[in-house]
């Protein structure tokens, strides 16, 4: 198709050809084309078939307001082809067709509309109930437009940025540009968001006069250049706003250009104040067959020619309700379009110059007439016009019908920001009645039409937004208001809601194929509120995000009730306002985790790392994940484990002890010198949330440990539970500052004595002792003798920067004993054999200290400390019906149940926390939480393992610990 290649308004470069593959054939477009305009230039007129009736659909808004032009592009379904720039080698396919869009085998559905009244699937397909699963399957196949496979992999790079601004302007048309200039020229930081790839809005493509010297499109480029020169204004073009939230939080996404490193980028802006200048779209004209290919809105027809150089047809009729329609007719006529008739819904009020223009071109002009019925099977070939009352009619042949009821404001961003909208009788618009704090509206969306008034309105809104940030700006407001008042105000709008038709094939929503007849059916069934009708008929719930039913729906409903517009309200708008890839919301998946200083050493030694919380830690040092060798080495020799992720804290100050007493269940005033105190923290329900060790290093000076998982929230916890007290204490989180090596096994002392500068005999350094030493006169270590794995064991705490050296020294000292690494799985089995719990494994949200047999960690005599959890511990001490921690031994030693298996009798009575085969005891053993009624030693437990198909396993409750019940080995 030939292009109008010399127009100054073009946004394409006809010299640069780009090819695409459409349904197996090569088509050609040019740089700047969208996928839709490139296809149109290649002769495509039918782009898809509609959802329910499979009616042919084509270009209508040229802005993606409906799913007519949703197509599959490069494997991605539902791409809005009118908004997607063409790039080389794109593969495009039509959607929702069986065959081709021109010859769709499902086209017969259009004749079955009588069988599909409003909400038919709610009412018909479930009587009798057994047909519903069949109907469901078929309806699912037919519902939806695009196709996607569960294996689909989204390609591309998705970025995210979070800029802050003083003023955020939504909309880069004349009003938005004026607002950005007003605020930016006063030094404020402005972010301007525009959804088209260029600035200029609805001035951009129009050759009509701006003033005596320049045309509108020149003014658009002039304003854009002025804005781009202001250093404090940041412009994001090709960026659509998707959400607006409290305190002016705006979310948007930007489509990446050729030179950008991202395909799409999520933008989240916190602004002090916001200007909404999103302009207007056209209100669709409602008449019979109002969505035939060949029927276009004014902007679509005009921009096809002026922006993309494509004449929208050969023989046109116009049925419009706004001067923009007459302006477009005159311009398109001068570009070569034959126009047979211009019908204006309005009886009067047209710009006389425009009417005179039609007369000069001898284009017949009718006032008070409207399109009534469009004809043509697949494409338009004729239109029946009638008076708006329906009293007279005439047929006119045409292949293009430019149809538009008038303008309607784009109020989406205002609705999302929770502005109240009310119907205005003069403009026929829903105008903002009450805007949230520091949010301003400007431009065409207020009903203004005059170019200078639109700019002045933007200028004023920009100043108001600036004044929200800088009160000095208030001085400039008065002249700006006066300037706006001197210019023409909002124009009278066309109020016609529908042509005088019955509406059987008058589509109020193109996406969901909802007709006026369907809406009337819903109303007659008692769905009187617009929101109910929307859901019952599905009008406005399609990919177009309500762009077509828009304000027509509430206006139609109001008319039905005989209310006029007064009580009508637009339906609630929700984010995202524009279809957005999930990948854009997800952003780049950064795989982040923390490593200990010994990470590399562990890996080099054969450590198999796993994620635990935010960390990566060595779980196994064997190919055999039962870790038999690691376990036996700790029991018989000596092993070393990296425990650096342990939470570690310093707490000090005159009230440090008070804070410890508040948070720990035990009596912290009874910590002896040189001894550790094993302690637990509970929540207000008495449930155990953490356990660790506390050491007193001096007067008002303590060092304590927590589990790795709780390290991040410990300081927060202390501060929360002392928030009313005003105590004087300080805390430092030393978790990352110190590393820990656990040396465990009967030969542990023999290894350690080669390293430290002191007496570590059992008398000098007994079990539960705490000592501080220097290793090689340099490395200060704090050493604790604990018993988690049930052997002679030392925990060495040293500064993180020395950890690698310490590791080397320990490995060297252990060489003659053939010291081995052991990982978390081995540690897990070792501690299980001792009946020692891990929070989250042998406890869950409902488990109290008493339930796991640690009630002795609670000191009931310190009521004055108001310890967190003490009240509940007292109240649940003798409570019946609780789960208790028990040890169990399987009847069949060769069959170990999976962790988490249920313990059952007539109902679920508990679960297996951990179960393993013990190489030392040659039994399958484990720990479980069971109902108190099953907790007695010797009780037979019945275990239900996932997918066991009724074959239960059996175990007996045994005393804890399984290994070394007297704890001799710990105390060696």
């Amino acid at each position: 198709m030939n292009r109008l290649s010399k127009l100054p308004t073009l946004r394409i470069d006809p010299a640069q050809e780009i090819s695409l593959n459409y349904d197996g054939k090569t088509c050609r477009g040019v740089a700047g084309d969208t996928v839709a305009t490139a296809l149109y230039a290649s002769g495509v007129r039918i782009f898809s078939r509609s959802l329910k009736y499979h009616r042919p659909r084509g270009l209508y808004s040229l802005d993606g307001e409906c799913s007519n032009t949703c197509m599959q592009v490069n494997g991605i379904p539902n791409v809005r082809s009118e908004n997607t720039l063409l790039s080389n080698g794109m593969t495009v396919k039509a959607q929702n067709v069986k065959g081709t869009p021109e010859k769709d085998m499902m086209g017969f559905m259009d004749r079955l509309d009588w069988a599909m009244p409003a909400g038919f699937y709610y009412r018909m397909m479930h009587k009798p109930a057994k047909i519903w699963p069949i109907a469901l399957k078929q309806v699912r196949k037919a519902a939806g437009l695009g196709k996607i496979s569960p294996e689909f992999q989204m390609k591309g790079k998705y970025d995210e940025i979070y800029p802050k601004a003083d003023v955020c302007v939504i909309g880069g048309g004349p009003a938005g540009l004026s607002a950005a200039l007003a605020a930016g020229e006063r030094g404020l930081r402005v972010i301007l968001l525009e959804s088209r790839p260029w600035l200029g809005g609805f001035f951009d493509y129009r050759p009509a006069e701006y003033d005596n010297s320049i045309h509108l499109f020149e003014r658009a480029r002039e304003l854009a250049e002025l804005v781009e020169q202001v250093p404090t204004v940041r412009v994001f073009s090709h960026t659509s706003v998707v959400g607006a939230y409290n305190n002016n939080l705006i979310t948007a996404f930007q489509v990446g250009g050729e030179s950008d490193f991202f395909d799409e980028r999520y933008i989240e802006i916190r602004a002090q104040s916001v200007v909404v200048a999103t302009g207007c779209i056209e209100r669709p004209l409602l008449f019979e067959n109002n969505e035939r290919p060949g029927i276009m809105q004014i902007g679509c027809a005009h921009r096809l020619a002026r922006t993309y150089g494509l004449l929208p047809g050969e023989n046109a009729v116009f049925s419009i309700g706004h001067d923009l329609g007459i302006e477009a007719a005159l311009d398109l006529s001068s570009l070569g379009l034959k126009i047979s008739q211009v019908a204006d819904i309005r009886e009067d009020g047209q710009d006389p110059a425009l009417v005179a223009g039609l007369a000069a071109k001898k284009i017949p002009f009718l006032r008070g007439w409207v399109a009534n019925t469009a004809h043509g099977d697949a494409r338009l070939n004729k239109v029946t016009l009638s008076t708006i009352q329906g009293t007279h009619q005439r047929d006119v042949d045409c292949d293009l019908l430019v149809a538009s009821a008038g303008m309607t404001p784009v109020t989406g961003a205002l609705s999302l920001a929770q502005a109240q909208l009310a119907y205005d009788n003069h403009t026929g618009f829903f105008l903002p009645l009450k805007l949230p704090d520091k949010t301003h509206a400007a431009g065409r969306l207020l009903g203004l039409d005059d170019p200078l008034a639109i700019e002045a309105s933007g200028h004023l809104a920009g100043l108001l937004a600036a004044a929200d940030c800088d009160p000095d700006v208030s001085a400039d407001l008065k002249p700006a208001r006066e300037q706006l008042d001197d210019l023409p105000g909002p124009v009278r709008g066309c109020k016609l809601v529908q042509a005088p038709v019955k509406g059987r094939k008058t589509f109020i929503c193109f996406d969901e194929d909802t007709t006026l007849k369907n809406v009337a059916q819903a109303l007659e069934m008692g769905f009187d509120a617009t929101e109910l009708i929307k859901r019952f008929t599905a009008a406005g719930t399609g990919p177009g995000q309500g762009g077509i039913p828009g304000h027509n729906l509430p206006l139609f409903v109001a008319q039905y009730h005989g209310e006029g517009g007064g009580l009508a309200k637009p339906t609630t708008v929700r984010a995202p306002m524009v279809p957005t890839f999930i990948a854009t919301y997800a952003g780049t998946n950064h795989d982040m985790f923390k490593c200990t200083p010994l990470h590399d050493y562990q890996m080099e030694s054969g450590g198999v790392m796993r994620r635990i919380g935010v960390w990566k830690r060595a779980r196994y040092f064997s190919h055999d994940f039962s870790c038999r060798e690691e376990i036996e080495n700790v029991r018989k020799n000596v092993g070393m484990l990296d425990a650096s992720t342990l939470g570690k804290f310093r707490i000090w100050g005159p009230d440090a002890l008070k804070a410890l007493q508040r948070v720990y269940a035990g009596d912290m005033s009874k910590i002896s010198d040189g001894k550790i105190k094993y302690a637990a923290m509970c929540n207000e329900d008495g449930c155990i949330i953490d356990d660790g060790v506390v050491v007193k290093r001096g007067e008002n000076e303590y060092y304590f440990t927590t589990s790795s998982g709780r390290a991040g929230s410990t300081v927060e916890w202390f501060r929360f539970h002392s928030r009313y007290d005003g105590w004087n204490y300080h805390m430092v989180n030393l978790t990352d500052a110190l590393g820990v090596i656990n040396l465990a096994g009967p030969n542990a002392r023999k290894v350690l004595e080669q390293l430290v500068d002191g007496d570590i005999s059992n008398q000098a350094f007994p079990f539960t002792g705490y000592r501080e030493f220097k290793i090689r006169d340099t490395i200060a270590v704090r050493i604790m003798r604990l018993g988690f794995v049930g052997e002679l064991s030392y925990e060495l705490h040293a500064p993180a920067s020395y950890m690698q050296s310490l590791w080397e020294l320990v490995a060297q000292a252990g060489k003659k004993f053939d010291i081995q690494n052991f990982g978390l799985e081995a540690q897990n089995v070792l501690r299980m054999e001792k009946g020692h719990i891990i929070i989250g494994s042998e406890s869950e949200q409902r488990t109290t200290l008493h339930d796991v047999g640690l009630g002795f960690l609670w000191d009931r005599k310190k009521a004055a400390a108001k310890t967190v959890g003490a009240v509940a511990l007292k109240q649940t001490e003798k409570q019946a019906g609780r789960f208790k921690l028990v040890g169990f031994k399987m009847e069949n030693a060769s069959r170990t149940p999976k962790d988490g298996s249920l313990i059952v009798d007539s109902s679920i009575k508990g679960y297996v926390c951990i179960a393993r085969f013990s190489f030392g005891l040659k039994e399958s053993i484990g720990l479980a939480l069971v109902d108190a009624s099953l907790a007695a030693e010797g009780t037979r437990l019945q275990i239900y393992e996932d997918e066991c198909e009724g074959r239960h396993l059996y175990a007996a409750v045994t005393a804890l610990p399984f290994y070394d019940p007297e704890g001799k080995r710990l105390r060696e």
Partner: protein
């Protein structure tokens, strides 16, 4: 949370930087004569005010301080402390 919160130390920041710490219910009541039902109410029951309430917030991604604000639960916005009506 999308709304902004004013931290007494750091100033007005994005709501996402904070963690919610519950409605202010005052310090823990005395243990004497406290029944399990009373205790459960103190810990778990909330007044569910449709209006302004005083509540605790923790500046997790900032200074780490605990403080209270007043929030209008119907608009989900931080508000000034309301005047006391006698």
């Amino acid at each position: 949370m999308a709304f902004t919160i004013t931290c007494p130390i750091c100033g007005k920041r994005n709501g996402y930087e904070f963690r919610y710490g519950g409605v202010d219910k005052g310090p823990r009541p005395d243990e004497e004569e406290l029944t399990p039902a009373d205790w459960c109410d103190y810990v778990h029951m909330n007044a569910c005010v449709a209006g302004v309430q005083e509540e605790w917030w923790f500046h997790r991604d900032g200074c780490g301080g605990w403080f209270t604000i007043h929030r209008d639960t119907t608009a989900n916005l931080e508000v000034e402390k309301p005047e006391v009506n006698q």
